[in-house]
């Protein structure tokens, strides 16, 4: 049986078994990052000349680079054949999906090809027009006014719903939060984006006490914080909600309504739902978690009606807490990743399968089937 004195030996036992990869492995990662950086620089150059860059026109020079075969392909990544090859690829599925305020929907498709997965971004605008682009790696999408902010490592782009990519460049210094700002939480940092001013600013890394954030209509930063000892809560200015159990938390907001989930840190790697917090401008409530068992949280959505929808896409489990916080409803079918586009509530098929796009007209209680962007037939 091992004990604490074995900890140093654990390090040496692992160290002895490490087979150091050739240094080329480092070089490959660096090259991949430079390619992404170069794409951003070129996009910025186009901006100087033309103001904005419509992806259909600049994709051959300014879009995110496509993984190139040994002999370079002359086909631009926006060519329909390029993104359709991903949508129709091996075990293709929606990897990420987000709506935006004008009703458009963006899907990052992923196909499990060998030796590495392939990606494409497909957007269907509110008039039903579909744009697509093959990507060399996914971007993390956050809905903002008129489109999305896409983040790849630390590079930010504004992607409008008509298919325009704008490189946001180097972030400006940290600044005070203002009304109209969006809090962008990425894998390697967090930023403030202002749609009105087009500014892109650094936020302090939300590690330690703050796990996630949201800017409310009054321009106040609302954060989800933890004590590192298993409790999390929502902080808005000097107000602090009650706390729930959680090693960390995830949060979202719509208007003055903010919802956060406390998430566990289980030894088997799972991150189960531990508790739900809902706050409005003048009140906060903790919802007991013992009757809403989810083994993971894939999406947390405040619906247009002010309800909170939580889904676990792996199992398809979900629940809706109504705006008055008086009813907890289980939807009539299994759900994947939920989101809002315009004033409509959507969800993908559970299990991240390539299935219908589900839509709800009654605040998440019942759902009917639509079509995922990229899967429209010629009759649609």
């Amino acid at each position: 049986m091992s004990d604490l004195r074995d900890l140093p030996e654990l390090a040496s036992d692992v160290r002895e078994r490490v087979v150091t990869p050739p240094y080329d492995a480092v070089s490959r990662r660096v090259r991949a990052r430079r390619l992404r950086g170069a794409a951003g620089t070129l996009a910025a150059a186009v901006l100087v000349v033309g103001g904005v860059a419509v992806w259909q026109n600049v994709a051959t020079t300014a879009g995110p680079p496509v993984p190139q075969p040994a002999e370079e392909s002359p086909i631009p990544p926006t060519d329909e054949s390029q993104w359709r090859a991903v949508v129709n690829g091996t075990d293709a599925h929606p990897f990420e999906i987000e709506g935006t305020d004008d009703g458009s929907i963006a899907v990052i498709w992923r196909a499990l090809e060998h030796p590495e997965p392939t990606f494409a971004l497909v957007i269907r605008d509110v008039d039903g027009r579909v744009h697509g682009m093959r990507l060399d790696s996914p971007v993390e999408l956050t809905p903002v006014e008129g489109g999305w902010v896409g983040v790849r490592t630390t590079q930010g782009f504004f992607i409008s719903s008509d298919g325009t990519w704008t490189d946001l460049g180097q972030p400006g210094p940290s600044r005070r939060v203002r009304p109209g700002d969006d809090y962008i939480n990425g894998q390697y940092g967090s930023w403030l984006y202002s749609s009105q001013r087009g500014t892109w600013s650094t936020m302090p890394m939300p590690y330690g006490n703050s796990f996630d954030g949201y800017v409310n209509p009054q321009g106040e930063l609302v954060t989800c914080d933890g004590d590192g000892q298993g409790r999390v809560w929502i902080t808005s200015g000097r107000r602090q909600s009650q706390s729930v159990v959680g090693a960390t938390c995830d949060m979202t907001g719509r208007g003055d309504r903010v919802s956060a989930v406390g998430l566990g840190d289980e030894p088997d790697g799972s991150i189960p739902l531990m508790g739900l917090l809902v706050t409005t401008e003048d009140s906060s409530a903790v919802v007991r978690a013992d009757f809403m068992v989810l083994s993971g949280v894939t999406s947390l959505t405040v619906t247009p009606a002010g309800s909170t929808l939580v889904t676990d896409a792996s199992a398809g489990d979900a629940f809706v807490l109504n705006a008055d916080r008086t009813q907890l409803v289980e939807p009539d079918r299994k759900l994947g990743l939920a989101f809002v586009a315009g004033d409509r509530l959507y969800a993908t098929t559970y299990g991240f399968m390539k299935g219908p796009l589900l839509e709800s007209d009654d605040d998440g209680n019942t759902w009917h089937e639509g079509v995922l962007p990229g899967m429209e037939s010629s009759e649609d």
């Binding site: 990662r29 998430l263 993971g296």
Partner: protein, 171 residues
Amino acid sequence: VDTRSDETRLREVYAASYPRLVGQLVGVTGDPAEAEDVVMEAFARAAPRRSSFHEADNSEAWLRTVAVNVARSRWRRMLRWAHLLPELVTQTAYAGLPEDRVSLLAALRQLPAAQREAIALHHLADLPVAEVALTLGVPEGTVKARLSRGRATLAILLAEPTKEDDHVRPA
């Protein structure tokens, strides 16, 4: 010439430090394959000429701090993509690790992330408390508290057969 010497230095550090850093980071990630991936990512971030790595007095400390931050970021990202992560991470077999080391890794995975980081840096990387505090960006008192709680929990976990042990040792 500077660029070439920077790369030469990084290659030397890579050859000398890669296995050692993986051994230390395994305590943070709880998984050797994940530890390799975050250490590789740290080296990739060190490579650009403008990287602050090239001005750091202690190369390995710089890499360790970046690797810990990468591990944290990945854990945060798992909040949304936990179900997809196994497909994204290349699993490397560390077959042949003694059974008690496997038990130790299993126990480490049961610690909260903050305690696991402190335990790994202090006991696996053999860093003094002050340097652990510097690496994690928290006060020394916080590190001591996390170490104390982490050790107490580990002692309990290691004294009792874990569920994973039950699996590998059927009655």
